[in-house]
């Protein structure tokens, strides 16, 4: 696909402002938490909304404006969280998210001089080190020291645990990988990792629009996973999960494995009786749905299919309409509810219409102010529930929550769902 292939979607935008808000009034619980789009919530000019970006793309295609630093600023001041896409699709067959992403691919290719330095740096890190943190490959195994984890470069297993760059390399986040492996071992799971040979899922490259690098890494990873002969690829990182499950199918090779987030897998293990949460964890919590575990994990193929009219001018696309309703919403809640003593209080914006944490889409690195404003909005929503702790299943969300808490004197704590589960399992 090319940007011009989405011209119809641009022309069919009615600039109604729905993409700025939660779509259905009955989902709203208050005036306070009605916003859906972090970018327009911060910047206010219509151009920052999804509709505004579609208009900007059409304007570029029609030669009314050219790529400029301002166009790039608007385009990349967006977490690509997909909320706008859901809101619009409640009433239309329009593609929004795909247009925003294709716009970035176009910008990355045609406007190299205005790329943002932090994005270039991350992409170079992936190219040089196979990870986003500019760390030597060998460090990927540090988190697993002393744990029973198969090396799938040497032996076979049913499950590949795809740890992800952040859980394996960020010293503050390694505990999640460690806790996950401990739980897998307790449940008797036959699993292993790729160790130092694990490569970045390429989510950051995908998000900033470096399609070439994304395609290359995705194909390499699919081939590797296929060659391992594993039944499942389980990831702890919502970013990796969303990309592998939802975006890898667009690159071509058949994926001969099931993709699961660790929280889904752990939920299955609990239901099968292989893990028994029994110790009380007395805590009131609220759960934050990561975008890439939720609405952005519905498989999306960038295509209009073949469009034809019925009833005169009703456009019929021969591809499924993807709204994000099939994300992983229930498993994390089931896991949390299975822990005795946990009191789960929902935030107003949740599941497919959850407010983004503000970290994704290259925003945290290039536009930290937007990331900070967005996470503070979420922390405020969490605080309004009365919960003591905000729980998630994504390292990017959790890191941004930590930063937001530090910057706002919030008394909230942030933990990963796995951190709670391990406290409860004997």
């Amino acid at each position: 696909m090319a940007l011009a292939d989405y011209k119809k979607d641009m022309m069919r935008c009615v600039r109604c402002s729905t993409c700025k808000f939660i779509p259905i009034p009955s989902l709203l619980k208050s005036w306070r938490f009605a916003q859906g789009c972090p970018a327009i919530a911060k910047h206010n000019f219509h151009s920052f909304s999804a509709s505004g970006k579609l208009i900007m793309a059409l304007s570029l295609l029609e030669g009314r404006i050219e790529y400029s630093p301002k166009v790039m600023e608007i385009l990349y001041n967006c977490t690509l969280c997909g909320m706008c896409d859901l809101s619009c699709k409640v009433g239309t067959d329009q593609e929004l998210w795909e247009v925003l992403h294709e716009f970035r691919i176009d910008a990355w290719q045609k406007n190299e001089k205005n790329r943002f330095a932090p994005h270039v740096s991350i992409v170079e890190s992936i190219k040089s080190y196979d990870n986003v943190w500019q760390q030597p490959r060998r460090k990927r195994t540090d988190w697993a020291k002393g744990l029973k984890v198969k090396d799938l470069n040497q032996e076979k297993a049913e499950v590949l645990y795809f740890v992800g760059c952040t859980y394996s390399l960020d010293p503050e986040m390694r505990r999640v990988a460690k806790n996950t492996a401990i739980l897998f071992n307790k449940a008797g799971v036959d699993f292993g990792t790729l160790g130092a040979n694990e490569k970045c899922c390429a989510s950051p490259a995908f998000m900033v629009g470096d399609e070439e690098l994304f395609q290359k890494m995705a194909i390499e990873n699919i081939n590797t996973f296929n060659q391992l002969g594993v039944k499942k690829v389980v990831t702890s990182c919502a970013g990796c999960f969303g990309l592998i499950k939802s975006k890898y199918p667009r690159v071509g090779p058949e994926m001969k494995f099931e993709v699961q987030h660790s929280i889904e897998f752990l939920n299955e293990l609990i239901k099968e009786g292989k893990l028994k949460p029994s110790k009380e964890v007395n805590l009131s919590i609220t759960y934050h749905d990561p975008c890439h575990l939720g609405r952005m994990s519905d498989t999306r193929i960038p295509s209009h299919g073949v469009e034809h009219y019925e009833l005169g001018t009703m456009p019929i696309k021969d591809i499924p309409k993807v709204m994000g309703m099939n994300g992983v919403y229930e498993p994390p809640r089931e896991v949390l509810k299975s822990i005795p003593g946990i009191k789960l209080i929902e935030m107003e914006r949740r599941r497919e219409y959850a407010w983004c944490c503000g970290s994704g889409g290259g925003v945290k690195s290039a536009f930290p102010e937007l990331a900070m404003d967005t996470v503070k909005e979420r922390l405020e929503e969490a605080r309004a529930t009365g919960a003591e702790t905000i729980v998630s299943c994504c390292p990017w969300c959790e890191k941004n929550f930590e930063d937001g808490i530090r910057d706002s004197d919030s008394e909230l704590k942030v933990v990963d769902a796995v951190d709670l589960l391990i406290q409860s399992v004997e």
């Binding site: 009615v14 600039r15 109604c16 259905i24 005036w31 219509h46 304007s59 699709k89 009833l311 309409k321």
Partner: protein, 550 residues
């Protein structure tokens, strides 16, 4: 037309440097809108030829006043918008400074006892509804959708509302209003410091402020407004779950004292009789007609067009329903108690019988019942009307306000022929010839009817056919003498080769020369002619002698 640097700096000093921009990437999004394809300045394209001089984001009434006063001082035209849905929210001429009121988004007060709320311009219907429904109150959301501005509907534009039978038209729900006049002076409609009414001693200014259609941003800026709220007999929280075809959400539980009644009638006369009797008995919150079954099905949007087509058309279901449902009406009953609920249902049932209505079996069981009882309320109560844009193109005829008889005679019947011709052309959506919204207000004190057309906004041939269809309809309308065309969207779209001001010039003589009065008012309120008048009146085309003519 760029602002001079010192003027830009002056505006920047008022709103702050992050709240002003004249960058083309920002300005472009204020040149594109729904219905631009009917605007003679850009049709069949989507972009206006001129960009605003700058876009400003004021955060308070004081900032708005400062901007407007500066515009008067330097002879700069301005135009304010809020959620900004439709061509008429954009400037109609070059060099205009746009005031995007997005930062003014607070609900200032909800007076539960006296049933009104005071809002700023960017409060949406959904936000207001979320706050008032838990207090046992309800709003009258405009059919532009729940994401639209409450204040814009109160002050600046027409727009019908589904709950109008109970709650009335929002032009009449407007109470106290804070208004920055085109001169920058502040005018408060209603008693000082009070919001419960928009009138005070002396002549009412509410008519000058908006009349029936609103000034489309051509008479200054409205910065605060009070809206009448209504009693809500439903639950304090509307719980939904995912699913369904209309809005992707279903009611989790059907409210205990809610009933949806959809009788069908053999003739328009029977249907009109039903409207009158339900109005007289003050029975329904919603009383409307949504055209034929074909039209009703075509309104679904949450599911894909493909699924709608396969589920309803390819199976022959719509065709069968259309045969049986000649003139369907929709009534929604709410009650506060079991006894009241039983009473209302009983009276409704008797009226249906007396007026010759039939409740089709298909509506009382299976998927259609599910659709009507669990999905339709989400759309109606939540007023989620974005499902009307199958391909980005939805437009209505000029609309017609009057008695039941007059709207049916002058719009309903003739339009079936006009719409039918174009629907069969293959260039607009064939959603049945009978696609009229027919909405009752204030227990049938008056009704409003409009015929709608769906087209593909990305297909110039389809846009063109839609324009021609509207022009045919408009020409037909002008032959009539009873009732009137109230509709701002009609102004935007009709007679597409003309400018909005030319359309008003055409309309004026048919409707009491309102355009002359409008221009006199405009001149009195905006002596420096700075409030962009492109969508208000016909003054751009008028000569002084014509305006003062008796």
């Amino acid at each position: 037309m760029a602002l001079a640097p010192h003027i830009y700096k002056m505006f920047s000093n008022i709103v702050g440097s992050v709240n002003i921009s004249d960058d083309p990437a920002i300005l472009e999004s204020y040149t594109f809108n729904w219905l631009n394809e009917f605007n003679n300045l850009c049709a069949p394209g989507k972009f206006l030829p001129h960009r605003p001089a700058a876009v400003l984001l004021p955060g308070s009434t004081e900032e708005v006043q400062s901007i407007v006063r500066a515009c008067n001082r330097y002879g700069i035209k301005f135009k304010a918008l809020s959620t900004g849905y439709g061509s008429h929210s954009l400037p109609g001429q070059p060099g205009v400074v746009v005031l995007d009121l997005r930062r003014m988004n607070r609900i200032l007060e909800i007076d539960e006892k006296n049933k009104f709320a005071v809002v700023e311009p960017y409060v949406t219907w959904a936000q207001l509804e979320a706050e008032v429904i838990k207090r046992g109150l309800f709003t009258t959301p405009v059919q532009a959708g729940s994401q639209a501005s409450v204040l814009a509907n109160l002050t600046s534009g027409w727009g019908m509302n589904t709950f109008g039978n109970h709650g009335g038209h929002n032009g009449r729900n407007a109470l106290g209003i804070e208004w920055v006049l085109p001169t920058g002076d502040l005018l408060k409609l209603g008693p000082p410091g009070e919001w419960f009414t928009g009138d005070g001693p002396g002549p009412s200014l509410r008519g000058v402020m908006r009349g029936h259609c609103g000034a489309q941003g051509g008479m200054g800026v409205f910065t605060k407004g009070a809206i009448k709220l209504h009693h809500w007999p439903g639950p304090p929280k509307l719980e939904t779950e995912t699913g369904g075809m209309m809005t992707a959400y279903l009611m989790k539980e059907i409210p205990e004292f809610m009933e949806m009644v959809i009788p069908c009638f053999d003739t328009y006369e029977q249907m009109i009789d039903f409207f009158y009797q339900v109005g007289d008995a003050e029975l329904a919150y919603v009383l409307m007609r949504v055209g034929s079954a074909e039209h009703m099905i075509s309104l679904m949007g949450a599911t894909s067009n493909k699924d709608i087509y396969e589920a309803f058309y390819a199976t022959g279901m719509v065709q069968a329903l259309t045969e049986q449902m000649k003139h369907p009406a929709v009534a929604m009953i709410f009650a506060n108690s079991r006894r009241e609920f039983e009473y209302r249902k009983k009276v409704m049932s008797e009226i249906v019988q007396e007026t010759g209505g039939k409740i089709l079996e298909v509506m009382t069981e299976g998927p259609m019942k599910e659709l009507m009882m669990k999905e339709m309320p989400v759309a109606l109560i939540g007023n989620c009307t974005l499902f009307i844009h199958h391909a980005g193109g939805f437009v209505i005829s000029s609309g017609y306000m009057g008695t039941n008889e007059s709207v049916v005679k002058h719009m309903g019947i003739p339009q079936e022929e006009i719409k039918g011709k174009w629907a069969k052309s293959g260039k607009i959506l064939d959603d049945g010839a009978d696609s009229t919204y027919h909405n009752s207000f204030e227990n049938n004190a008056y009704v409003y009817m409009e015929m709608e057309f769906h087209y593909d906004a990305s297909n110039p041939e389809s846009v063109d056919a839609s324009r021609q269809c509207i022009t045919d309809e408009r020409n037909q309308r002008r032959l009539e003498k009873s009732g009137f065309e109230p509709n701002d969207i009609g102004l935007t779209c009709g007679d597409y080769e003309k400018s909005p001001q030319q359309r008003i010039m055409d309309m004026g003589p048919h409707y009491g020369n309102f355009h002359l009065w409008q221009e006199r008012i405009k001149r009195a309120f905006d002596p420096n002619d700075v409030s962009d008048r492109s969508w208000y009146g016909a003054g751009l085309l008028m000569k002084d002698a014509e305006v003062s003519k008796k």
